[in-house]
Structures are given as C-alpha cells and as structure tokens.
Subunit: 310 residues, 3 copies
Amino acid sequence: MSWHRKHLLDIESLSAEEITAVLDTAREFKAVGERDIKKVPALQGKTVVNFFVEPSTRTRVSFELSAKRLSADIINFAADASSFKKGETLKDTARNLEALNADIIVIRHKAAGAPHFLARFLNAHVVNAGDGAHEHPTQALLDVFTIREKKGAIAGLNVTILGDILYSRVARSAIWCLRKLGANVTLCGPSTLVPRIFEQMGCRVTHDMDDALAEADVINLLRIQHERQRKTMFPSIGEYASLFGLNRARLAKTKPDALIMHPGPMNRGVEIESEIADGERAVILEQVTNGIAVRMAALYLVNGGKQEDL
Amino acid sequence: MSWHRKHLLDIESLSAEEITAVLDTAREFKAVGERDIKKVPALQGKTVVNFFVEPSTRTRVSFELSAKRLSADIINFAADASSFKKGETLKDTARNLEALNADIIVIRHKAAGAPHFLARFLNAHVVNAGDGAHEHPTQALLDVFTIREKKGAIAGLNVTILGDILYSRVARSAIWCLRKLGANVTLCGPSTLVPRIFEQMGCRVTHDMDDALAEADVINLLRIQHERQRKTMFPSIGEYASLFGLNRARLAKTKPDALIMHPGPMNRGVEIESEIADGERAVILEQVTNGIAVRMAALYLVNGGKQEDL
Amino acid sequence: MSWHRKHLLDIESLSAEEITAVLDTAREFKAVGERDIKKVPALQGKTVVNFFVEPSTRTRVSFELSAKRLSADIINFAADASSFKKGETLKDTARNLEALNADIIVIRHKAAGAPHFLARFLNAHVVNAGDGAHEHPTQALLDVFTIREKKGAIAGLNVTILGDILYSRVARSAIWCLRKLGANVTLCGPSTLVPRIFEQMGCRVTHDMDDALAEADVINLLRIQHERQRKTMFPSIGEYASLFGLNRARLAKTKPDALIMHPGPMNRGVEIESEIADGERAVILEQVTNGIAVRMAALYLVNGGKQEDL
C-alpha cells in the first residue's frame, strides 16, 4: 500500500506504485457495484462537494454515485464560470465550500491548474475531475484499470491513442499513466492535432493510421469535438472520418485481440464506425462501469482510507 | 400476486390482474408515507436513475422521493433533448447510465415509444415517466388508486375525462387503465380535441358537457395546455372555460358524490373554477400523495419485489 | 427550553428566549460538524423540501447539507418565478409539495411575506430562507451565533452594520435579532441606502464612517449588489469603496478586537479590502460553518425537536 497523498491532482506527479495502489483499491470497490446492495460505509458521515465550474453531466454523475456508494453525503455545486472573473473569487468560493465542513472537494474547471491552486490553501482533500486541457486523472485511471483487467498487465503493451491529442486532458493524463506503468504509447491524428512535441513525453508520434494500428494491443479513440469548430485544425468531419476514423477495413489489419476504447460520448461514424463501437472488442461501457470503482478508490484513498482495511 | 414484468412501459399491455397488483402494493407503501419515519429498506443499495430528456419538475420529484423512501440511491440525469439528434445517441446515453450499475432507469422523453426502445436493449429495469403523447402509466395508476380508495372498486363506475384528450398521454393511460378494470369511460371536450376515433378504445365520446357530467361518478379534468398555443384547436381560453370549464352551475347538476380529479398543474378559472378545486369533492392533492405510493410500488415491483414480502 | 413554534418565518416575532433557544440548540449541532461522522439521526425518515423560487446556490446548499446531517431526505425544487403569475399558483405549488408528505418546506422567494402566506394554509413546517427585502432569519441567527461564540454575550455590544441597509433582508433580520438580545446597533452607508427611518427600529443612523466604526465591537459589512445597477443610489463602485469601504486606514482606528463579518459573497476591494477579509479579525468563513449548525437547529426545532433530547 503506497498511497499517502492528501489530494489527487494529476497523474504526472504520481509514481507507478501510487497508480497501482489506486488500481488495486478500485478492484476491491468494483465488487461493490456487482453486489445486491451496492453500498459500503467507508465514507459514512463524510461530506463530498461536486464543485463543477465547467458543465459535465457524465463525470459529475459518476462522482456523485461513487460518493453515494461510499455512504458519503454529496452536494452538487455547479457554478457558472462567467461569475469567476478573478482568482480570489474562485478561492473564496472554494473556501466557502470547505467551511461547510467539506471533507473532499471534487473540482472540474476550464482553467488548467485550478485543482492545484485550491490544494494550496484548502484543508479539504481535492480531487481533479478535469482541468482545462491539462489533466483528467480519474479518466486515465479508469482506462488503465480496464486495460489491466483485460490484458493482465500494462508494461510492454502497445497502446495507440487516436485523435485530438493537443487539446485533450484525457490524452495527457492517459499518456502519463501508461508511460509510468511501462506501456509503449503511439499517438496518431492530423499533424495539427498531434504535434511532434509529444515525443518529449516518451511517445511515438505518427500521422499514418496503418503504422499506428499495426502493432497496437489497445486502441484508444478520443472524441472529435466538432462542436468547437476547429476549422483550422482539420478540413471537415467527413475528411477526418475518412483519414482517421476507425472503420472495418482498418480494424481488419489490427491484432485480433486489440481492445477498442473510447472515453465517450462517441461520435458514431466520425472517429468510430458504429459496428465497431458495438463489437466484441469494444470495452467502452466497461470503462464507464470501472469509472465508478476508480472514483470510489480515489475518494477513499485521499480521505486516508487504506486498501488493507477493505 | 401477479406481477412478473421487468419493466413498466405502458398500461396498454398490462392485464387487470397486473394493474391490481400495483394498486395493492401501493396500498402497503401508502402507509409508509404516513409513518413517523417515512422510509423502508426495500431498495437499499440499489441505484435508480431519473433520466429526464423532457423537463418535468413534479414527476421527477415524485420519483426521486419514492426512490429515497425505498432507501435507493437516486441520480438525476436531465438531458437536453436537442443533444439527441439520432436514435443511436439516446441508446448510447441510456447504455452509459446502465453501465453505472443502474438497477432502474426512469425515463421521461418527448418521443412516444422511447421507454420501449430502451427496454429492448437494456438489462436495467425501465419505468416510463411519460413518453410524448403516448402514455404516462404511473399517472393512470395513481388516478385509479385514488378512485379505488374513495369508491371501493372501479368496475361499473362512470368516469368522465374532460379536455385535451387527443394530445394527452395522461388521458391515453387513464383510458386503458379504467377500461381494463371495467369502468365506463366518457370523453368530452371540443371536437377538435376529442375525436370520435376514441370510441375504438371502448369510450363514449360526447361534445355536450351536460351529457358528459350527468351520470359521472368521477370527473377527471385535464390541463388545457394553453402555453402550446393550439390556435386551430379552440378559439380562446375564455371560450374554452365557458363551454367546457367545470363551474358551480355545471357541478350542481352532477351526482353529489362525484369525485373531482386533476393531474395538475391546474389552470384555475379555465378548466376548473377555483372554488371547486378547493372543495370537498376534489381529491387533487390526494392524487399527489398517492403518486408517491404508486411510484414506490412500481419501482419495487419491476425490481423483483413481492407484495407478500412487505 | 422555550421554542414552541411550528415555523421559523422571521426574527421580528421571536422573543429573546426563542432566539436563545435556537442558538443553544445550534451549539449542540455545531459539534456534529466537527465529528468524524458528521451525521445524527434526528430527522431520519423526514422529508424536507428546498423550495427556491429565487435562485440561491449558497443558502440552498447550506440547508441541503443541514438536512442531510440530520439524516432527513431532502428534495430540491427550484421554480422559475416567472411561472408564478398569481398568488393561487404559489399556493397550489406549495400544497403540491406538502402533498408529497413533506414535513418541512424551506422557502426562498422574491416576494416579502411569501413564507407567512404559506404558513397560513400548510400543515407542513415552513422555514424562511429569505423573502424579498423583508427577512432572512437564519442569516441573522448565524451572525448572532458567531458573535456570541467570539464575544461571550450579545447584550451591551456595539454592532455596526455597513452598506445597503435599505434593500437588505440580511440587515433587517440582523437588526431585529441584535436589538432583541440587547446590542446597540449602528447603521452606516450612503444616505440613499441608510435612511433615518431605521431609527424607529432602535438603531443609531450615521453617514460618517469614523463615527460608525469608533466604538464598534462588531463590524458587519453587507454586500454591495452592484450587479443590480442602482445608479441612482450611489455614484460609482469606486466612490463607494472610497467613502464606505473597509480599508486598513479605517480599520486602524477601530477597537483592536472588533470582529469583521460579511454574509458573502464578498466584493473584495469594494466593501472590504482584500487583506482585511483574510485577516485574523475576520470571522467570515466561521459564519458559513455556523450556518449549518443554525439551520440544523432551525429544522430540528420547528419539527418539534427538543434541545434537551440532544
């Protein structure tokens, strides 16, 4: 058991042992979700605040349910980002939430570093639920948890991440997590979205899909956020789908046991062909299920819980 | 005990025995709401998702409280209908909710048939909280529960439903439910809103209020949804009130023990005169109270609960 | 123990003994928030409805958490004020909430007197969470609770309230509460916002900051609601800050042990200089913490709880 941190702010600062501690603890909690009574008293009487300054229904619900399964009291506090014009005001709001005797504050914010900022002055435990284009640590942990469950181990696996890497906190956290656990990471997508600078994180960068997929044990597809209209980044949705979408022809050339992952929500027909999303190799819904287990583990561990007490 | 269904999707497909099973179970749960501690452990550790794609505060709150009184964990998931452009995406969202280990998904959707669509591919139990102009089964069950409580039995009663029948899921579910239990159903309102085709559901259709009210044991007034501006359907609110509103003059000609029902929210002075809404024969607030009991019964039964275990 | 009221509607109608009963009960509940398991079964199985017709995240969250720490089931019901055009409809909505077997209805409404209106026809207990410019009783109680905790007693203290008194329910409740407990209350701010008529409530009114601060034991700063653009009330934010903001120069002339209070959210640099807000004399976050204890006491007492049973 090697978790002694007060917060979960990012993957970058974690050791492989700390990551493994979360994964091992999550394995214990996964069993809770499969029981008839999906509830343990681990955080009975504790207060968790879901402090979401950027809208997110899925991640908010996943943390809410994780807290409830731990028997914590959870409060949703959605703040409009437009009401925060100064750093002090975010600080004041966070301090006000803490003053409610909050034990844990889960924060989603569009500004990179917001959770670290909070952690510097709060006594409450802080869990990062996504900060700007920086990190989304619980997403990376649930991805790696799912891979480990399917493949037994992470070290030595070839993991390919496809899509909008540059602006993706999901990609950034996943890269840190996979590299620390010894996986080989290949990034692929349009050169505007997958610049060579990612080689400095220990990744292989390619813009050739055949090359990216050939040896992959795991294919992680990111969502193309076409609603943000990145007109200068790629010509059109249709062209993206044709050049970088995962279709049956491309899948046929991959290893037969390669896992297909996606953090959701999917654009069927864009980054992934619909049949593949529903196919046997896709573990997309298992990722959602595992998200609860991983978030239960994160809430439990930052609050001082020990795996050996479970 | 004759409930063996996995879902509660509509009244149309239920037998009289199944409807009666819900009513009998609801009677047990009604007592819970009258206790000092309004809570039973029947769904302890179960997860219920309130999946509302069409806004509704009242029905959402009623289901939320019903789940809490059963000790379930409940998550509200309100989705903007505009984010669902394809059937696949509704499917994906529902599957994601299920992947949170949801035991029961309560769905409100503007598209008729959405709950049936979900039930075809989900393992979770599905409860219809209103689908388009199709059905609103728990509303019909709470209406019938209230009538049975007041009148002892349903068979042979004359029930008159007034108002906007054509577009009303409340009316459609009520008609199925009342007919299956042996009531005589009369429909009345403007001919544009109460077409003769409803005779095929075994109802009597009339456009004459005196005729509709004369023999009624129960008068169920639907809400005139004037905010939807059905200009072609009736000339004006004032004219509607004058032709089809329930006022004291009309009430005087009804049976002295006729019940006055309304699913809420009421337009006082339109479909119902204010004094009548507050009068002794109105059971409108009892319908709200009974809604909790009926929804507790629905959640309990679809999840495999047995009335004899209560 | 001198609390026998069914509702908490305002401070104006309370006796000093009743106020003291709430404060004493809150002291017991404050200890709950400091425990490892922040929960007591006092309202187990009771239903509390947070009925907020005017938006408020902070007060809503504070009541929500208070109810949860008492083990009650709580439902948030936020209604858009625009949907209430007639008094009857507010009445109908409140009756509908009560018909859900609600034990306590906590109401926030932009109309002064709305809680009193509800209390006249509901059987449920009503707690005022702020009604227009009229009263905000739990805010006054948490202020007084905090002062008593720091100063030992209220009687004889000099309390200065600064800012927008005229439109402030916080000020109005605070004045009643402090006067009943024997404090000397001084009001200060621009003459447009602090008219002489408040002398009829037993307050001293001055428009001179030096005079207002000189003898103060407690300085309570109200939020300048500049978002409401009261153009005719004071010339500009900058001028307000310069004339009536609490800055270091002014603080230096006050008693060294004067408490600095603010109901939040603060406008740093307007009514309060940032360093003062973070200084040792400020008890602003303690007010937030005490808000939970006071609201737990309010919910507990109106529901018939006795301090001696704690």
